[in-house]
Symmetry: C2
Subunit: 653 residues, 2 copies
């Protein structure tokens, strides 16, 4: 039997959610109302976090994967003592408020992840649990400085998304026993009853993926939910799913119907629901006893844990001073000095291999790295020697699960304490597109290593040859897309990617060997673009070729041919257009030629190059299977064909 | 016990695969060698298809989801009598050959789907099975004209991908009992043993998704595989998975190791393997007895079935002449005359609603439509009245499974006989990105209805507000991206999308109401772009605004203000830039202003607009949660703010 105060607290939280949504006349009451008791049980009895230090590194993490239930999260965070005022709740879903439509990390205290795009909250929680385990295992006596749980609340929408299977399969395989997922089985999706589109035995599916599964038949029973969480926390091997049956929109006259999913209850039905809960107080108010309860439970527990942790961390410093320093630096993302690569007499190297060399080099200097690939470690050169597989080490074998890999990496970075990279072929960045977007939105310094970056993939053919991916990635806000021309530019890209604090980096790499170029310079990558062939002093260029990646050396060869034909040529390497755009005054001085005398050269969609050059050489059709040289010749990417094309452009008025 | 001829046939097929890969010095022998007996069993005993009529509509379909095993498919298709010569096999993976690195539909007879991007072969097979069932159910005595099986061979890579869960969950829910999937469990992925990244009980996962599961312990046992397929075909409710244990790279000195996955065996190991198989004949030859066997089994069965079907179809025409006509037209994608929409006194309508009206209208005229959404039927207006849910009707409830939805739609269209559309929010086109790419690559007339197309989504915030998606889609080859300005342009887009034969169409639609514009015209959508405000006769425009979708009416309002300020204005609506690009001479005459006097206006990434206009107004950052009007104002999308911005541009030199 729940005590009266518990009933009152859950009623208050539910009433706040109703008020928020009614005030905004926008929002999703369905799950907000049915999952309130579960979240209450979690915050009252289990979650260890201190509202006075919401960014404390060893706090438990909580991800509301069903981000549309944000009203509930804000209501409970308000009651639990986070800096979310009643006025903040009143401005739910209003521009500039602390309480946006879906939770946004970094925007609202107590929110550990941005969520909304279904399935990704769950995958991010998996990433957080990976980070916790990885960090603990990497330090001697690691459990003294890193030991917490990761909780996640998800719904049917999350579990229908394919990424959920990738994420749970990975979590089960990796034995993330400190991950606890509550599945709110409310029997309804936006369009109708879940049974319209789902016949799955979810329990069996999780068991198949090596999870521990518990069941709570009535999600309104706070103590049963709490007991299930307590039991879940004891799992020593497997992650735990708690299947919790609830009634969508509980309290509404339409409870149990999908109609409560995404439509505000309105005044009348809101009052009806409040009567069901036993609410006797005014709109946007909370009984003092409820605040008091959270103080005595959640806040007291969190403050004590925070204080104990501070002691433990100080104590740790006595025995492991160097490790403590590293640990603290890792959460601030402070880097030791990054070593420079010694190129010896290197004349030619596939940039995917250059990337592998940089990984090995930086891994040796930065002890807090984690990363891996989607079953293409050999091909993407991410199999760094000496790094052991997770959980013993930090080599991640994500399996053929690109989307969950990228999303879990978001969770790793949200957690903090690790620099993370992940790798696959550029064309399959498509599979993880929205997770990259989430990294950009969450301001995470994610690192993507995308190899096999053009038609030069060759024999694997058009399904494996990227064409439009570069443009699609460049269109994304807050993402740096690097396409280095050679090993030196790879080093420049790596420096920037590792040093980044709030911008993800996609480093796009060739399968084929590329010559080391005379004028490329790791330091100049930060400019975004710079000349690698300039007209002789005093002479003016007839034409500028602006190229990236493998096409820079091609541009230089074509320029050489054009010089023979009497043209004065300039070639600019543009490893990162986003960085160029950040410096308009530099950009305006970069080109020595007018717009009509510039040619862009990149083996991908020409869309987007029109802003720099009148003439765009690229690939606006799909590729073909064949030997790389044959494919490149067929599509016109030989020095002679490029030179001919440019000469033709220059002959036009 | 397999007969000697069977042993010989499998040996011949394996030897061909080895020869193809060695000749190309490129390819994936691993699964090609281990799955040969299974494919042989399928073609010898079950698959009903006629090499003389490879496009026969009622043939069984076969999808090699593990497309990297293409050498095996080509080898068996050659032996089975398809038009793939020994010379074609010798030019495996060479430019212009019939035998590309991954199977490509429309390129090679006998290949039913393009595959390679993992998981999508399986999802396409699910789509084919949906099409078969949908068509059969839509015609009286439908089983007389549509009744076949869909087979699929997949591997671990397919099943680790999240899309596989979406696809199998959907297939189980939809009771696709005529779908038979063989899972080649060879225990290895590219990087190492499958156990490095997978601990799943695959059998349990399929059972959880309501599949029938059979097991074959030794994939070399042809008759056991054949019996399992025979049993699977008898399933009257559930789709069937046959889990077949094999040894990767069977015959190689490295058999059982991931080293055989993607590396040619080479001459020596190839000979070793051939010795294991008992091959006594030369490279690139096949014993006559093997050809003979396929003639007597596969070809004889196929030819008889084809002849019987021709009779059955003719007979059907006697009793159901109209339906027969419709059926034949549907497979040629011939359309009846499409009705025009009567706009009455409509003054304002969200284009997502206009889309719903067009769906209802065209559905009433075209009896062979199928479509639905990813649990957003209400929001995307795809819930057409009177259309019953599949399998009784053709309303698809895909669930929250965007990627499988788009990929299954590819399967539906590959199958033929149906016009298909699917819907979700534009921002979640990210989730299905690579399936759209596959539609474009396969030349499928897919129709995507992407609603909620801008910041005007409002309260749901940045996770739900698309910014970069339009640019990403436009960068894709062979895709038409329509962004209609009002209901009339929606009609134009629908006409073109329904009439398309080899180009997919993405129709991008507003959540908010848009005014009906005076000068918009359904017929002009085909031009890609056209003026909706022209300078008065004789006067020359000072400025052109090029806009799409909801920004066309905004452009007109801004232009009105600028006209008041004394400027002569031109406004061009650009519902489809790809169509504009197809007509360079029209494009060159379209603008009455020079490049420096043109402004693009679209609430999305400005990347890509530089090719049309010097000045680009768009959104190069993420959106924000708030009331739509407040968000639009904040980001500058009000007539007055746009007018001010344009006046400022025009004032610059």
């Amino acid at each position: 039997m729940a005590k009266a105060i518990d009933k009152q607290a859950v009623a208050a939280i539910r009433a706040l959610a109703i008020d928020e949504i009614n005030q905004a006349n926008s929002g999703h009451p369905g799950m907000a109302l049915d999952a309130a008791p579960a979240l209450y049980a979690l915050y009252r009895d289990h979650l260890v976090s201190d509202p006075a230090h919401p960014d404390w590194c060893n706090r438990d993490r909580f991800v509301l994967s069903s981000g549309h239930a944000s009203s509930l999260l804000y209501a409970i965070l308000h009651c639990a003592g986070y800096e979310i005022s009643m006025d903040d709740l009143k401005s739910f879903r209003q521009l500039g408020s602390k309480t946006p439509g879906h939770p946004e990390v970094g925007h609202t205290p107590g929110v550990d992840a941005t969520s909304g795009p279904l399935g990704q909250g769950l995958a991010q929680a998996v990433g957080m649990a990976i980070a916790e385990k990885a960090i603990r295992n990497q330090y001697p006596d690691g459990e003294k400085i890193m030991s917490h749980y990761t909780y996640c609340l998800c719904g049917d929408g999350d579990l229908e998304e394919g990424i959920s299977q990738e994420a749970i399969s990975l979590a089960g395989h990796l034995r993330l026993n400190k991950l606890v997922v509550i599945y709110d089985q409310n029997g309804s999706t936006l369009d109708g009853p879940t049974s319209d589109s789902l016949s799955e035995a979810i329990k069996l599916r999780f068991l198949a993926s090596e999870w521990n599964v518990l069941e709570v038949r009535n999600g309104n029973n706070i103590n049963k939910v709490s007991s299930a969480i307590a039991k879940a926390k004891k799992s020593s091997v497997y992650p735990t799913l708690i299947i919790m049956k609830t009634v969508i929109g509980y309290g509404s006259a339409n409870q149990g119907s999908h109609k409560t999913h995404g439509t505000p209850l309105g005044e009348e039905d809101g009052n009806h629901a409040k009567a069901v809960y036993g609410v006797t107080w005014d709109k946007f108010t909370v009984p003092e006893a409820v605040y008091e309860l959270f103080k005595q439970t959640f806040q007291a527990r969190g403050a004590a844990a925070y204080a104990a942790y501070a002691n433990s961390l100080a104590e740790y410093g006595k025995y492991h001073p160097e490790e403590q320093k590293t640990f603290l630096a890792s959460f601030k993302r402070e880097l030791p000095e990054l070593p420079s690569r010694d190129y010896g007499d290197l004349t030619k190297e596939a940039t995917r291999k250059s990337s592998g060399a940089m990984l090995a080099l930086y891994r040796s200097a930065v002890p807090y790295c984690i990363g891996g690939s989607a079953d293409v470690a050999g091909s993407t050169n991410t199999d760094v020697k000496g790094v052991k597989p997770f959980p013993e080490g930090t080599d991640m074998r994500y399996g053929i699960r690109e989307f969950a890999m990228a999303s879990a990496q978001n969770g790793i970075l949200l957690h903090g304490g690790l620099i993370s990279y992940c790798a696959c072929f550029l064309v399959f960045s498509d599979y993880m597109k929205n997770a990259i977007r989430m990294a950009a939105l969450e301001h995470l310094p994610a690192i993507y290593l995308f190899t096999h970056d053009s038609l030069a993939v060759g024999e694997d053919g058009p399904t494996h040859q990227p064409v439009e991916q570069l443009t699609g990635l460049r269109a994304m806000p807050n993402l740096h897309v690097f396409r280095p021309a050679d090993a030196k530019e790879v080093e420049g890209a790596y420096q920037l990617a590792f040093q980044s604090k709030g911008v993800p980096s996609a480093i796009v790499l060739s399968r084929q060997a590329l010559p080391m170029l005379e004028k490329t310079d790791p330091k100049k990558v930060a400019k975004g673009a710079y000349p690698v062939l300039s007209p002789e002093r005093g002479s003016k260029a007839d034409c500028t070729i602006l190229a990236t990646g493998s096409e820079v050396s091609l541009a230089l060869e074509a320029a050489e041919e054009l010089v023979k034909r009497g043209y004065v040529m300039e070639v600019i390497s543009a490893p990162c257009l986003e960085l160029l755009e950040k410096n308009p005054s530099y950009k305006n001085k970069l080109f020595s030629t007018p717009y009509a005398k510039r040619v862009s050269l990149e083996m991908g969609s020409t869309l987007g190059w029109g802003r720099y050059a009148k003439w765009n050489i690229g690939v606006d059709e799909f590729g073909a299977s064949g030997k790389a040289e044959a494919v490149l010749d067929e599509y016109g990417f030989t020095p002679m064909k490029i030179a001919d094309k440019i000469a033709y452009f220059l002959s036009k008025k």
